[in-house]
């Protein structure tokens, strides 16, 4: 009974943290708890949340993907390139997502067939993807993108009064939540992360699960990249630098274990919200960005230690 209670507390721990921070900020700043700012905040976190959703899958398989930030930049540069050359925006976005899928699968193949540790494999591809982005863009932002309403909507549009990136984030969240908790694939993701050998011996093609997971993450990174490109109306060659760390932080704050097999995507959404709320709130409180970084680091540490203390 007691065990179950503490388990449940652990489950909603991040949520309690979020609520606490929100209440605190609402007291400290008048502009924080306004509809306008909340929507603004949700839009701000949507990029990180999308990447972090993919990262959740990867980390559940006991892996890590450091290449997401670079992949975001490469995917958005290539998509922007296609758009500026006058390609149909739907096709360009579709191809962009496919590129993300393929490059993610490449990560997965290096890790499974090449037997390279995920940290090393994606560290290498992180550098390669960034280099490829700089080569392709010649280090300059890609501009002169499509005027297509669809493309413009992705980053800047509103549906009723809700920003489109927020809608995309929520839809992706619901789909991934369903996949993780209600499909065979989702169960196998947990199994591979919980004990890869046991999963394989139970008839799970662990390698295939991993490749799929990295592909998914690659595609989500590029989706985030396309939204960012639409928002900035240009693809920045340096976009996404260090985004992998924010995504990992969101996953970890959300209570997913880096050892794999244990965690929830809901936690990741809350983790992304916590990170977003902190930086938005500290901005509103006019706290220097130097201190903001200290606060963010402290929150990550606090969340992880809280997670450890229940083991």
């Amino acid at each position: 009974m007691r065990n179950k209670l503490s388990e449940n507390i652990a489950k909603i721990g991040p949520l309690i943290g979020l609520v606490f921070i929100v209440i605190l900020l609402a007291f400290l700043s008048d502009s924080f708890l306004t509809v306008d700012n909340i929507l603004n905040l949700l839009r701000q976190i949507s990029i990180n949340a999308l990447i972090a959703f993919g990262m959740t899958f990867v980390i559940l398989t006991a892996g890590i993907d450091l290449s997401v930030g670079s992949l975001l930049a490469l995917g958005s540069a290539l998509t922007a390139g296609m758009l500026s050359s006058g390609m149909d925006p739907i096709l360009a976005i579709f191809l962009g997502l496919i590129i993300g899928l393929v490059l993610g699968a490449l990560n997965g193949l290096i890790i499974t067939k090449g037997k390279v540790a995920p940290f090393i494999a994606t560290l290498a591809t992180m550098t390669i993807f960034r280099g490829a982005t700089l080569v392709y863009t010649d280090g300059k932002p890609v501009t002169g993108l499509s005027d297509s309403v669809l493309f413009q909507m992705m980053g800047k549009g509103y549906f009723f009064f809700i920003p489109v990136p927020v809608i995309i984030m929520l839809v992706v969240f619901l789909v991934l939540y369903f996949i993780l908790h209600n499909t065979v694939f989702g169960r196998r993701v947990y199994a591979v992360g919980g004990n890869e050998e046991a999963a394989t011996l139970s008839g799970v093609k662990s390698d295939r699960i991993k490749i799929l997971v990295y592909s998914l993450t690659g595609m989500l990174a590029v989706l985030a990249g396309i939204i960012l490109t639409s928002r900035l109306n240009s693809a920045q060659p340096t976009a996404g630098t260090m985004y992998e760390l924010d995504a990992i932080a969101a996953v970890v704050i959300g209570g997913t274990s880096l050892m794999g097999g244990r965690g929830r995507i809901t936690g990741t959404l809350i983790g992304a919200l916590i990170i977003g709320v902190i930086s938005n709130g500290l901005n509103l409180l006019n706290v220097s960005s130097f201190y903001q970084q200290i606060v963010k680091g402290a929150v990550i540490l606090f969340a992880v230690m809280l997670d450890r203390s229940r083991d």
Partner: protein, 316 residues
């Protein structure tokens, strides 16, 4: 029955599509409020938001300090947000600033194109925008305040020409972040002069991203193939100081002159010690002072020029 379903679906689709828009909801309804503000409030109640590209570089720290000092002197409120050189964080910062009832927004863009979304957000909220140092590609800007970078590049080139004399020589150009307006303009000014001088030869133009460490490594690499270089022009002092370190470790510091840009504290010391030949002094405190002044002018309803150049100075 089928027809009913079809028309229902069509209606739903219409509503859904109708609900989509690229404009922020309610964005065009608050003109009045802003006008009221302008006439009723005192200058001392003016609140300025300042989105700065980074604080990882002494120039921008000076820029911020100048703004804060000027704001204090004029007794106005200022809120600063640091984008940490991340284009999308800057947009978030601007949005956060707009949440705080600022009257004027000063933006120092990380990059000209990407900042537009932020500028447009401010335009939608009817907050006047001033850009400093780097300009924005589009959006409504009341005025842009910056050093005359093209002129600065020319000053650097002229100074190198003067030192090396008619014999000319081989030059290295360390470029700033690709695409950054200041890098483009400084390079343009530099090339304006050097390209017309046949006896001068730029053996390498490479980017070191305005960064001292990269300035060091890029210079080291270039020097491997070009031992007979006579002068280095860097688009900022950080890279110039990196180049000085590279030259020093190669024992070439006495043979090569280095001209930087920005006149940061470190660079000024280096010029004094003869480690650097010269630096083009941007005057960040003057830029931000001008920006604060412009904000007050806007607030008081005065008209401003599109571009307010701030003087540069060669320090040797």
């Amino acid at each position: 029955m089928k027809r009913i379903i079809t028309s229902f679906l069509a209606l739903t689709l219409l509503i859904v599509l109708g609900a989509c828009s690229l404009d922020k909801p309610g964005s065009d309804s608050d003109d009045e409020a802003t006008d009221d503000n302008a006439t009723t409030e005192e200058a001392s109640e003016l609140k300025v938001g300042f989105s700065i590209s980074t604080l990882n570089n002494p120039f921008f720290v000076d820029l911020r300090n100048g703004a804060e000092d000027a704001a204090e002197a004029e007794d106005i409120d200022i809120v600063v947000a640091d984008a940490q050189d991340d284009a999308s964080k800057q947009i978030n910062d601007i949005e956060d600033l707009l949440q705080q009832n600022i009257d004027v927004l000063i933006v120092n863009p990380t990059e000209g194109e990407s900042v537009v979304a932020g500028i447009e957000a401010a335009n939608n909220a009817d907050i006047p925008v001033i850009t400093v140092d780097r300009s924005a590609a589009s959006g409504e800007i009341v005025t842009h305040i910056a050093s005359d970078n093209v002129r600065g590049g020319e000053m650097a080139a002229e100074h190198i020409e003067e030192i090396l004399g008619a014999d000319g020589g081989k030059l290295i150009e360390l470029e700033g972040i690709s695409g950054a307006a200041s890098a483009i303009e400084r390079g343009e000014g530099f090339h304006n002069i050097i390209d017309d001088l046949t006896e001068f030869d730029i053996v390498a133009s490479q980017t070191a991203n305005f960064d001292r460490t990269e300035g060091l490594s890029v210079t080291e690499n270039i020097l491997q193939g070009n031992k007979d270089v006579q002068a280095i022009f860097a688009h900022n002092d950080e890279m110039a100081l990196g180049a000085v370190e590279a030259l020093e470790s190669q024992g070439m510091l006495d043979d090569v002159i280095v001209v930087g840009f920005d006149a940061t504290d470190d660079a000024l010391v280096a010029v004094e010690d003869d480690r650097m030949e010269a630096t083009i002094a941007q005057q960040p405190d003057l830029i931000s002072e001008a920006a604060i002044q412009a904000a007050i002018d806007i607030y008081n309803g005065e008209d401003l020029e599109d571009f307010i150049p701030v003087d540069l100075e060669l320090i040797k």
